[in-house]
């Protein structure tokens, strides 16, 4: 069986700088895979290339055997690969529920014109979007804040809102951008549970990019480690923990978020 | 050919000064100063009044123009822009305010100076004539040299003085500048005054050649916007390049296309659009300012 997501020899160069050099790995269906590495290892560039927010210099990303790199972000989202952002990227003056409803627009059956004239299909959509939004927020434990303005939410909830918006599009693969950054231990553990349940109950494959080592060790089925734009290791959490190259990379860097 | 080059340098130096003021204000406060053209016109009228009417020496009249505009700019910043920037939910409000100020200045110009075209006596007589290939009145040469000297003085001010360093820090990152101990409110005001002063200075210089009238404000603002877009908003070198490029395009256009009527500017606009489609941030600008 072909893996769901294949990263094939992906390279990114900015001028003379190489952000990612010849990176390859696969993500299987229903897996939680984390990409980790010290600051400046090229994690976020890789993340943006997978979601087509930046083009690759060479190499490609395949989803179900189909190329999804070097397209437009919305095209990739429509195919079922949806990224989240860190907390500041939200719809500030929408409520939580409105954000989740707007994110369902890909699932709409009626056309834009149908909405304008108020067709039957459009009305059905509106009802089903509302229902699904309530159900999703219930599932994520966010029912109580569903009518809060996004700009009024505390940081921890913003991260959850990001996940909710991503999930509302009905993705097959969810790409999470540093979901645990800036969280304390309790918040992190809650988020870990949330991500797990997204995978277990909704069958969504998760690829995440993260700093926070303990959280990554708990949550991941497999881990890919980057350093200076190169892939230096790939394996299960226990394999990674004992990998000499990884230890060296983390000890060798002045990164203060080691926590291993 | 020599003639076109000389005209380009002459126009470009004036334009660069106008664009410098606009881009300075934009860089410091993220304000698109619609009233920039009106400030230029006021500078022209002040010099006209003192030099043309009252017989004050030209250089002194220029200095009075600069001071008037600097004070006007400082007042506008302190009592209008600063409070609106603080109190408004959207940054677009400053654009509305700037448009309102443009109307206000137009009204003031109308009331104080009237709507007639005004000119002043030539500052220098005579025409430089090189073999009929390059003809340039001496007063234009003087104005051009003065403009270039002013630009150099402005760049030195920005590079080497304490004020200049503070302004550059402010333009780069407001919050960081504040943390570094720059008095943000004070330097915003100084920057705005400086930008307005540049507009007034060009107005004072150009009144000796083109004269001045009420209707010049709007078109001048539009030209300034174009230069800033060519060079990249909020970048000093960009403003200078923008001014020079627009000056040369105009000089070439007027020489080559004059028989086709008013299409020079049309072509400049169209090429600007194509240019921006390829390079949205202008020559020197950072993406999205």
């Amino acid at each position: 069986m072909t893996p769901l997501l294949q990263i094939r020899n992906v390279t990114k160069k900015y001028g003379g700088l190489t952000a990612n050099n010849d990176i390859s790995f696969d993500v299987s269906e229903n897996e939680i895979l984390s990409v980790i590495g010290p600051n400046g290892a090229g994690k976020s560039t890789l993340f943006k290339m997978i979601s087509s927010f930046v083009p690759t210099t060479s190499g490609e990303v395949l989803f179900g055997g189909e190329r999804i790199s070097n397209l437009k972000p919305h095209v990739v989202a429509r195919k079922g690969v949806v990224r989240t952002f860190q907390e500041t990227t939200i719809f500030k003056s929408m409520t939580v529920r409105e954000s989740v409803i707007v994110a369902q627009h890909l699932r709409a059956k009626a056309s834009l014109g149908g909405y304008f004239w108020g067709s039957k299909a459009a009305k059905d959509d509106v009802v089903s979007f509302g229902k699904y939004a309530d159900e999703l927020l219930e599932f994520l434990g966010m029912s109580e804040i569903s009518d809060e303005l996004a700009s009024n939410l505390p940081q921890g909830n913003l991260r959850a809102l990001g996940v909710a918006i991503g999930l509302a599009t009905g993705p097959k693969v969810l790409l999470l951008d540093e979901p645990f950054a800036g969280m304390n231990h309790d918040e992190t553990m809650r988020m870990v549970e949330l991500v797990r349940s997204v995978r277990d109950a909704r069958g969504v494959t998760v690829l995440l990019v993260e700093h926070d080592m303990p959280a990554v060790m708990t949550i991941s089925d497999r881990i890919v480690v980057l350093n200076f734009g190169e892939k230096i290791a790939e394996g299960t959490p226990s394999e990674i923990q004992n990998n000499e190259k990884v230890i060296e990379a983390y000890l060798g860097s002045a990164d203060d978020e080691i926590g291993m | 050919m020599e003639q076109i080059l000389a005209n380009g340098v002459y126009l470009g130096s004036q334009y660069a000064m106008i664009a410098l003021g606009l881009t300075l204000i934009f860089a410091l406060m993220n304000v698109l100063n619609f009233a920039h053209g009106q400030m230029y016109v006021i500078g022209g009228f002040v010099t006209y009044t003192f030099y043309g009417q009252l017989g004050v020496p030209f250089v002194l009249a220029l200095i009075i123009s600069c001071l008037t505009l600097a004070v006007l700019g400082a007042l506008i910043e302190k009592f209008l822009f600063a409070p609106v920037i603080k109190g408004s939910a959207r940054e677009e409000s400053t654009m509305l305010l700037a448009a309102g100020i443009a109307f206000l200045l137009d009204a003031l110009i109308l009331l104080i100076f009237g709507e007639k075209q005004r000119g002043v006596p030539k500052i220098v007589n005579g025409v430089f004539n090189y073999d009929f290939r390059l003809i340039m009145p001496y007063d234009r040469i003087v104005i051009c040299v003065l403009a270039i000297l002013s630009i150099i003085a402005f760049i030195c001010l920005m590079q080497y003085s304490k004020t200049g360093r503070a302004l550059r820090a402010l333009a780069q990152d407001r919050t960081a500048a504040q943390l570094m101990g720059v008095n943000v409110d004070r330097y915003s005001m100084i920057g705005f005054a400086l930008g307005a002063m540049l507009a007034g200075l060009v107005g004072g210089l150009l009144v000796t050649i083109t004269g001045v009238n009420l209707g010049m404000g709007g078109p001048t603002s539009i030209k300034a916007f174009m230069m800033v877009m060519i060079g990249g908003a909020g970048v000093i070198s960009g403003a200078i390049w923008g001014g020079i490029i627009l000056g040369f395009m105009e000089a070439i256009g007027l020489a080559v296309l004059s028989q086709y009527g008013d299409i020079t500017y049309l072509l400049i606009f169209v090429s600007l659009m194509i240019f921006l489609a390829i390079r949205p941030q202008g020559l020197m600008g950072k993406p999205w300012g």
């Binding site: 989202a77 949806v82 004239w117 459009a122 | 677009e92 448009a99 049309l266």
Partner: protein, 326 residues
């Protein structure tokens, strides 16, 4: 108009009554026939302002509506005068042509954001004025004058729209026509904003990156919205030309584009009916200040600045319009 609360229905009813009954009666009583021209202008400018407001709704500051109004005015005038087409056919044609131009120009410039977009649209107004001066078909600086009044339309012998030239009171007829157009425009705008397209626009206004990550084709929607916006501009301009019976390159200038923007800001960007109110206040205010003679512009600009200084979020932020047709 469905899904309106009873309160909103009352508001709409009151508004329609005011526009179609109360205003004509008041004008008859007071004998201020000149107000018809003022109010007709307000209605038409409000249509163009609605377009500007819509571009704000996707987070773009549009100071180029004068360009599209001028395009609309010329297209309609050329069709009527040179093509002998009925005005009522030239009207949608003017809107569509403006929309087409918007698509062509929008492809490159809609990638620009913030002040960059604002500046280029401002320049655009100047470009169209210069084009009108340079092209032979627009007749240069002389413009197109003595445009005939709109002719009547009848379907199977049943008159739908009467012949304006045969009417005694064309002022009233133009007033009604402009108001009907304005109401149609705002009804369409209201529907659009409250439909899915409106929600997608809002998502783009707040964060384009996030919007594209949930699958919104932002470049497509930008073009669609800019085209609709310019359609409104073209319609408003065409009708204006028909009332003035003439079009010149100076019919819509940079100052007009700035005014369209001011109408939207002043009314409030968060409210569909904001631009209508803003247009009314600004245009009427300007007209009332006419008595002040040479102090007109001074007082007008001082009031404008005071409003911005003390109500930076628009007139409707006072919630004066709450009982109105919101």
């Amino acid at each position: 108009m469905k899904n309106l609360t009873s309160k909103q229905l009352v508001g709409v009813g009151l508004f329609l009554f005011a526009v179609f009954v109360a205003v004509p009666v008041l004008i008859r009583i007071t004998g201020r026939w000149d107000f018809y021209f003022t109010l007709t202008s307000v209605a038409l400018l409000a249509i163009a302002s609605a377009g500007v407001w819509l571009t704000f709704y996707i987070g773009r500051i549009n100071i180029g509506q004068g360009a599209f109004a001028l395009i609309g005015a010329y297209v309609s005038a050329i069709l009527v005068v040179k093509g002998g087409v009925s005005f009522w056919i030239s009207l949608p044609a003017a809107g569509l042509f403006a929309a087409l131009v918007a698509i062509l120009i929008g492809l490159p410039i809609l990638r620009l954001r913030g002040v960059y977009f604002a500046m280029i649209t401002l320049v655009l107004t100047q470009v169209v004025t210069l084009t009108a001066l340079a092209l032979p078909i627009t007749n240069g600086a002389k413009g197109i004058s003595s445009i005939p009044l709109p002719s009547g339309i009848s379907i199977f012998g049943v008159p739908i729209i009467p012949d304006f030239a045969a009417m005694e009171n064309t002022k009233l007829a133009f007033y009604y026509a402009a108001c009907i157009l304005m109401i149609l425009t705002y009804a369409a705008l209201y529907r659009l904003v409250n439909s899915r397209l409106g929600h997608l626009c809002r998502s783009m206004q707040q964060n384009e990156e996030l919007a594209s990550s949930i699958g919104v084709n932002i470049s497509y929607i930008r073009i669609v919205i800019f085209a609709i916006s310019s359609f409104f501009g073209g319609i408003g301009g065409a009708m204006f030309g028909s009332i003035a019976q003439s079009v010149y390159p100076s019919s819509f200038q940079v100052a007009d584009s700035v005014n369209f923007m001011l109408n939207c800001f002043l009314g409030g960007l968060g409210y569909v009916f904001g631009p209508m109110l803003g247009t009314l206040v600004l245009y009427f205010g300007w007209d009332l200040l006419f008595e002040l003679g040479k102090y007109q512009l001074l007082v007008y600009s001082l009031i404008l600045i005071a409003v911005i200084r003390f109500l930076p979020n628009g007139l409707l932020s006072l919630r004066l319009g709450k009982g109105g047709p919101k």
